[in-house]
Symmetry: C2
DNA sequence: ATAAATGCAAAGCCTTTGCTAATCT
DNA sequence: AGATTAGCAAAGGCTTTGCATTTAT
């Protein structure tokens, strides 16, 4: 694993997740790591193919990349676009049970209005 | 609602869902409807903002557009990339209950190996 | 020495947008 | 007439790729 790949992985692991390629690139620069965007994309691709990180696809946004944790679910604020982790216990088993299908995995993104945005709306 | 918008909506409603903009465009042409890609994209955008159709985001693929049905979940074959509808009863309520958060909606895409691909793998 | 990874620049794909002409109310 | 929408062509954002160079094994 090359220095750059390790750096990119570290950036993702150290962050609270959900970084875009652009953000990974900027965090690398902040750390004084020299990388090109091509390398960032290439390594994000490789790392997610290898299952070391996770690629998350969200409507209308560039892909985000996540470290892999127990929390496999995301919650997205429809107003401010903030993405957070959230864990729904035993969901895979539950889905397998309900559908009768053996799953490789699943992607779940729930949409809500976050407390901050709700508060802002109330004030108007 | 313009003729083209109606045609585009019809194409989606008549299909089994999950069309890309490109596919909608082609189906329009097959039906002899004259539209430009710009119009297809514009109308798919408008229709999904209005909640008349649904935009589905899938990793590594262009957005797909769906008619709105009871089945709000998708299942995606990791081998052949086929996408199908599947319904998981009462999932929104279940998720709200498990998380304690009031949801606007959610996107769920389950990943599996479809029976055809499983069969192919067995033969090897 | 061989294989793998980088950086750059260019291309690619998917999607949106500015503008003019056409269409609808 | 006034407002909405279409079509075209051009631009835009995000991502990938070819190729020469560097780095690691």
């Amino acid at each position: 694993m090359s220095k750059q790949r390790k750096d990119i992985l570290n950036v993702i692991n150290e962050s609270k997740g959900h970084l875009t390629a652009e953000e990974v690139f900027m965090k690398c620069k902040e750390k004084g790591v020299s990388v090109s965007m091509a390398t960032v994309y290439r390594n994000l691709g490789i790392l997610s193919e290898q299952g070391i990180i996770r690629r998350v696809s969200i409507i209308g946004q560039p892909d985000h990349y996540d470290k892999i944790l127990n929390a496999h679910e995301h919650i997205f604020c429809d107003r401010c676009g903030k993405i957070q982790d959230i864990h729904v216990a035993d969901l895979k088993e539950l889905l397998e049970e309900k559908t009768g299908i053996q799953l490789q995995s699943y992607d779940l993104c729930m949409r809500y209005i976050c407390p901050e945005c709700k508060e802002k709306e109330r004030q108007r």
